[in-house]
């Protein structure tokens, strides 16, 4: 057998490898201290649904009562109310809120997406309420043909409403209610 030496060498090398492997396995497994279980990450505190905090602590509404040392989970993004139903105004001069979503509406020097429907000339086409006549008046109460520059940026006064929970309490009273409080107040 010509290759006898080779066979022996191979067998010895294999045996050595097996021994080295088992030794490594035994020592390695035995010596290595088990990694301490990572402390469970402190669960971020979800703000309770109804914690406006005690009275006088209302400014904490942004953290929703979560202690300063803990991380709060931000509330989910609020959904814009898109029902197209006109809302009550809280007082006679309140700019009406927008009853639809305005995602991606471009209102800048180049174009005004709102006026696509709410301009005087387009209101009939889209059956949208045209902006009131005050929007065409300059500060000297002169009527202009187009929307006055100071009224051009709709979002300065008109905003959408979302289903977000109010951050702070609100004790606002309607003027009618103030003038004619219901019996018992």
């Amino acid at each position: 057998m010509r290759n006898k030496t080779l066979w022996i060498a191979t067998a010895m090398a294999l045996a050595l490898a097996v021994m080295a492997f088992s030794a490594g396995w035994l020592f390695g497994a035995g010596d290595r201290p088990r990694a301490p279980a990572a402390p469970a990450p402190a669960l971020p505190v979800v703000a309770a649904a109804d914690d406006l905090g005690p009275a006088g602590m209302q400014l904490d509404a942004i953290r929703r009562g979560v202690p300063i040392g803990r991380e709060a989970v931000p509330p989910p993004l609020a959904k814009v109310d898109n029902a197209d139903l006109k809302r009550e105004r809280a007082y006679p001069m309140q700019p009406p809120t927008i009853p639809h979503s305005i995602d991606g509406y471009q209102v800048d020097k180049n174009s005004n997406r709102c006026m696509l429907c709410h301009a005087r000339a387009n209101a009939a086409t889209f059956q949208a309420p045209p902006v009131s006549v005050t929007h065409y008046m300059d500060r000297d109460d002169q009527f202009l043909a187009a929307v006055s520059p100071r009224r051009y940026f709709c979002n300065q006064c008109h905003v959408v409403q979302t289903d977000a929970r109010p951050l702070v309490g609100n004790a606002f009273e309607d003027v009618d209610r103030l003038l004619h409080p219901p019996a018992g107040d």
Binding site: Q106, N122, T125, F126
Partner: protein, 199 residues
């Protein structure tokens, strides 16, 4: 120089005019057919390669201006992840129309080579003109590229906002208006729209 090239051209012309001496008609037919397949495959592959967003945004004119603007819109990012790439809206999907548009695009290659809009300022200056091209095209083909995805017959108006449903039914349903009439600037910012009817 001229005499030499003329001689070469003439001999080439004579060879082309002469009937084949060595190859049978059958061989020429089959070889021509196979070569045709290879050519056609190669042509279409190259054509489709120029019809990808990667190709379009390979030039900074597209990448830094219009593609950046697209990124913020619902045609790029939305809840379901279905999105439109550049050619979905800007290249007709039918083959003949596509070839016609691609031939037009040779003008855009010219513009690229000579830097017609190679700065932001030049782009803004030309923006209305560029947009007008697209609006005219979409108006002429009844917003075909919009309708490839947004089919009026498949629109469930009850799932739309009442405002949208009402307007779509009134103007789109009667075919009095087409998509681009109201939805200019749906995927890119609008240029100065003074005097341009919107809606």
């Amino acid at each position: 120089m001229w005499t030499r090239s003329k001689a070469i051209l003439l001999s080439l012309w004579r060879t082309l005019r002469a009937p084949s001496v060595h190859y049978s008609l059958g061989f020429l037919t089959v070889a021509g057919f196979l070569a045709g397949i290879v050519f056609w495959g190669g042509f279409n592959t190259a054509l489709e390669a120029t019809n990808t967003e990667q190709f379009c945004t390979g030039c900074h004119e597209m990448r830094d201006n219009v593609f950046e603007e697209l990124k913020g819109t619902i045609h790029y990012s939305n809840r379901s992840g279905v999105r439109a790439t550049c050619p979905d809206c800007h290249v007709p999907h039918d083959w003949t129309d596509k070839i016609a548009r691609k031939m037009q695009a040779s003008k855009e290659v010219w513009g690229k080579l000579f830097g017609s809009i190679d700065t932001r300022e030049k782009f803004l200056d030309h923006r209305l003109q560029l947009a007008m091209h697209e609006w005219t095209r979409l108006k002429a083909n009844d917003s075909l590229e919009c309708r490839n995805c947004h089919d009026y017959d498949s629109m469930d108006l009850t799932r739309q906002g009442s405002r949208a449903a009402q307007i779509h039914k009134r103007w789109l349903g009667t075919r009095e208006k087409t998509c681009i009439d109201c939805h200019k600037g749906i995927a890119h910012r609008l240029p100065d729209m003074t005097g341009v009817p919107q809606g």
